[in-house]
């Protein structure tokens, strides 16, 4: 197992290298440079040239890439010019906030999605199945940012149950209840689509398993229905559900970009959008590489979990 994990980790290195090249080239290729973004109306060629020199952007591209890569390998992600702050500090702060949001959402959509799928499958064509299937269809079809805006209008503006935006109260304690009240709406809005996808796939995975012989055997020998479904069938179905959860984790992470904009959550998605608009090259590059690294690691973890659950997968 340790060898398998090591092999997977080593295989991540070329992936991350490729990502660093791609994000660097994209940032170098998109029209508009940081100096123009900073100077706006005052971007004369002369001012732009001077500012680019001050920002160290006058060196050839290949040279800039290797300087950046060399520093990054040593843990120096550079300094964000749009925030006047170390890129790594900013990314870590923002990533923490995104993890809280996306993590909560992921837990929510995994539990709700799998539970809904199981209930649906256990009651195939029953009332519960129909209700869940309908709700799932609705959930998948609503764009999360629109749902987020509607939730703000109803639960924050009209009913005033929750704050509109942000992660912490501007005044008052930064404790868990305060966090929950700020987290509820964005986490739900973010979870809805993934919940729907997971519920659909869990339902079909469960139906597949429930048709198999060992289930009939379990029922025949008198195992209670509850144990048949939640212990025997679900465990077997999890083998095909877990990879879906892995993929959905990626969707939740990328969907967080919209939700963070709508709810002004101080996360990495909102940071990247702002950074791209400002052409804050180092912040975009550092942020993307960091998020990509986390995503790659998460996928390795999913693969490892799957191999633990299913001995048939060779390690």
């Amino acid at each position: 197992m340790a060898g398998y994990i090591l092999k997977r980790l080593l295989s991540a290195i070329p992936v991350l290298f490729g990502i660093s090249v791609i994000v660097f080239v994209i940032m170098a290729m998109i029209p508009g440079d940081p100096a123009t973004a900073i100077l706006g109306s005052y971007a004369t060629p002369e001012n732009v040239e001077k500012l680019n020199r001050d920002l160290g952007l006058d060196k050839p591209m290949v040279q800039r890439y290797f300087i950046w890569l060399g520093n990054m390998v040593q843990g120096d992600f550079g300094r964000s010019f749009s925030l006047n702050r170390d890129v790594l500090d900013e990314v870590l702060d923002r990533f923490g906030a995104t993890l809280i949001l996306a993590g909560t959402s992921f837990v929510l959509c995994s539990i709700l999605g799998v539970a809904a799928g199981v209930v649906s499958a256990a009651r195939q064509y029953g009332l519960a199945d129909k209700a869940i299937t309908f709700a799932v269809l609705l959930g998948i079809s609503i764009p999360s940012f629109f749902l987020g805006m509607m939730m703000i209008l109803i639960f924050a503006v009209k009913l005033r149950w929750f704050p509109v935006s942000g992660m912490w109260p501007i005044y008052g304690a930064r404790d868990v209840p305060a966090l929950i009240s700020h987290l509820t709406l964005p986490a739900l809005a973010l979870a809805v689509v993934a919940t729907g996808v997971i519920a659909r796939l869990s339902r079909s995975a469960m139906l597949e398993v429930l048709r198999q012989d060992f289930i009939r055997t379990a029922r025949a020998k008198g195992v209670p229905e509850r144990a048949v479904i939640w212990r025997h069938a679900l465990r077997a179905a999890m083998v095909s559900i877990i990879p879906v959860l892995g993929v959905q984790a990626g969707f939740v992470l990328s969907g967080a970009v919209y939700i963070e904009m709508v709810f002004q959550w101080p996360g990495v998605g909102r940071m990247l959008v702002d950074a791209i608009l400002q052409r804050d090259i180092l912040l975009v590059q550092g942020g993307v590489v960091f998020v990509a690294a986390c995503y790659v690691l998460f996928n390795i973890a999913v693969d490892v979990a799957q191999s633990l659950l299913d001995p048939r997968i060779k390690t």
């Binding site: 123009t36 005052y42 060629p45 010019f81 912490w168 304690a173």
Partner: protein, 524 residues
């Protein structure tokens, strides 16, 4: 049923979580008295006035720092601030300022002539020990400054390399605000996150992407602020900003989207409006193509229904522009100028006269950008108006930074017209940078449409070296008349900046400078 038991338990848990979540909200729904919460449009870049360029950042800075001079309340005319008086030499190249006595920075260090010298040397002198705390993108506002000399602790002298009339208004601009040398020495490149000035509020805390908090500077030389503290919250999404205002999460919201104004019509809110030094126009390519003919340029001015644009597209958040200078520069504005009327018949007549019926026009439109208002909708309305008088208009849309990269180097060989907007601090800036022959793009200026009129050049050069305000005013007024007649641009709109305050906020007014001044504001 076991399945239902499980869901019931889950529902109980969810209910408990919700109840827990609700308890703190009730306590925080009401923002505290004496603390003003401002909904800003973005996170500031830095709180170092020499390092920033965005109006959004200026809104905070103007409350933390003072300059040598400032704009008189409600005008764009300069009055004393940290300098109590000044003298300008006969030839207009030496400015001697007498400084206010007994002023200290928030960090306790004294404000004096050495501090003033430090500020300008830091920006302008590449060998200054703290020049590396930049970059200072707007330092060129002071590129005429040759040297800054300390005469005595309360007298400082600026020597310019040539007479430069906008110097005083540039000093009133945020780039001219005075920072504490001691704080720069202490924090170096991190000064922008640990600011210290002399203003009515002192910096307290910056929570990245959440809030910047400033507190009352007790003993402020111009009288203590009425508020105990101000919290600036960056809320980039305009809909979310509106929702926060409606939910009571913020007390003051800037840059209300036109479509959201109707939400604030009842007595709970006050909507503030103030026209500022902003002009939205179309650059016309006067070098080649149909717009090389003055009659066609005038025809475009007649053909476009500017009232419909400001009233319908912009919902009244702008006024029709008459010429190149915004009326907010009251002292330099030519009151006799009337906007080109909406007259499609006259436009057709001029087009026929010039034999340009059915001419094809390429029109650069941006998706957004500083001061650009609602550029896509405005561009579409303009396209429709021009097609109604017989042009064939092809729109090309670009993202803002890309757009600037296309337009600033000049329209030659690419386009016939382009949207543009400017916000400036002096009536000199825009025409000097965008209307002179010497400001064609290949000479490093912003005259992307290649307008050239020797008389205009002469007037602008003369106005720049005149130090008497009345003399400058007369020159600018004459320039406006000529430029309006020559029509190098289509003059479209002057933006009225807006803001909404809740009924707990009093004594708030927007400034024509577009700065946000909060020292007289109160909140109960």
């Amino acid at each position: 049923m076991t399945l239902f038991k499980l869901t019931r338990r889950a529902m109980l848990a969810a209910g408990a979580a919700t109840a827990m979540a609700l308890s703190p909200i009730m306590a925080t729904a009401q923002t505290p008295p004496g603390v003003l919460i401002v909904g800003q449009i973005a996170e500031p870049k830095a709180l170092d006035p020499a390092a920033v360029t965005a109006v959004n950042d200026f809104r905070i800075l103007m409350n933390v720092y003072d300059g040598l001079v400032r704009y008189k309340d409600g005008t764009l005319e300069v009055e004393p601030s940290l300098a109590t008086a000044w003298e300008i030499s006969e030839d207009g190249t030496v400015y001697t300022f007498t400084l206010r006595e007994g002023v200290t920075f928030h960090d306790g260090s004294a404000f004096d002539a050495e501090a003033v010298k430090f500020n300008f040397d830091r920006m302008l002198d590449e060998s200054h020990p703290y020049h590396n705390t930049g970059p200072f993108p707007l330092a060129f506002f002071f590129s005429a400054v040759e040297s800054v000399d300390v005469i005595d602790p309360l007298t400082v002298q600026f020597t310019l390399n040539a007479p430069y009339a906008p110097f005083l208004s540039n000093l009133a601009y945020p780039t001219g605000l005075i920072v504490s040398p001691a704080a720069v020495a202490e924090h170096g490149a991190d000064f922008g996150r640990n600011p210290s000035g002399t203003g009515p509020f002192k910096f307290a805390e910056w929570r990245s992407k959440e809030a910047v908090v400033v507190e009352k500077n007790v003993g402020y030389w111009d009288g203590d602020a009425k508020l105990d503290a101000v919290v600036f919250r960056p809320i980039t999404d305009a809909n979310t900003r509106t929702a926060e205002m409606l939910a009571g999460g913020i007390d003051l919201m800037v840059e209300v989207p036109p479509v959201a104004l109707s939400e604030f019509q009842d007595d709970t809110y006050t909507v503030h409006e103030q026209a500022g030094p902003h002009v939205w126009f179309l650059i016309l390519n006067a070098k080649e193509g149909p717009f090389a003919d003055k009659r066609i340029r005038q025809a475009a001015n007649y053909a476009i229904n500017k009232s419909a644009i400001v009233n319908d597209v912009l919902e009244g958040t702008a006024a029709v522009a008459a010429g190149p200078t915004p009326p907010a520069f009251a002292w330099a504005y030519n009151e006799t100028l009337e906007p080109y009327p909406y007259d499609p018949a006259k436009a057709k007549e001029l087009i026929a006269e010039a034999g340009a019926e059915g001419a094809e026009l390429t029109f650069y439109v941006t998706e957004g950008g500083s001061g650009m208002l609602d550029p896509v909708a405005m561009g579409t309305a303009i396209q429709a108006d021009l097609e109604a008088v017989g042009f064939d208009v092809k729109i090309e849309t670009y993202e803002w930074n890309t757009f600037l990269g296309e337009v600033n180097p000049g329209l030659e060989g690419k386009a016939d017209m382009a949207e543009m907007a400017w916000m400036t601090n002096d009536p000199d800036t825009l025409p000097f940078l965008a209307l002179r022959t010497e400001a064609w793009p290949d000479k490093g200026g912003f005259n992307s449409g290649y307008y050239s009129n020797p008389k205009v050049d002469e007037l602008l050069e003369a106005a720049r070296v005149a130090t008497d305000q009345d003399e400058r005013a007369a020159l600018y007024q004459e320039m406006q008349t000529i430029v309006q007649e020559d029509a190098p641009w289509v003059f479209v709109a002057n933006w009225k900046q807006n803001a909404v305050t809740s009924d707990r906020v009093s004594d708030f007014a927007l400034q024509p400078s577009f700065f946000l001044l909060l020292d007289d504001v109160a909140k109960n």
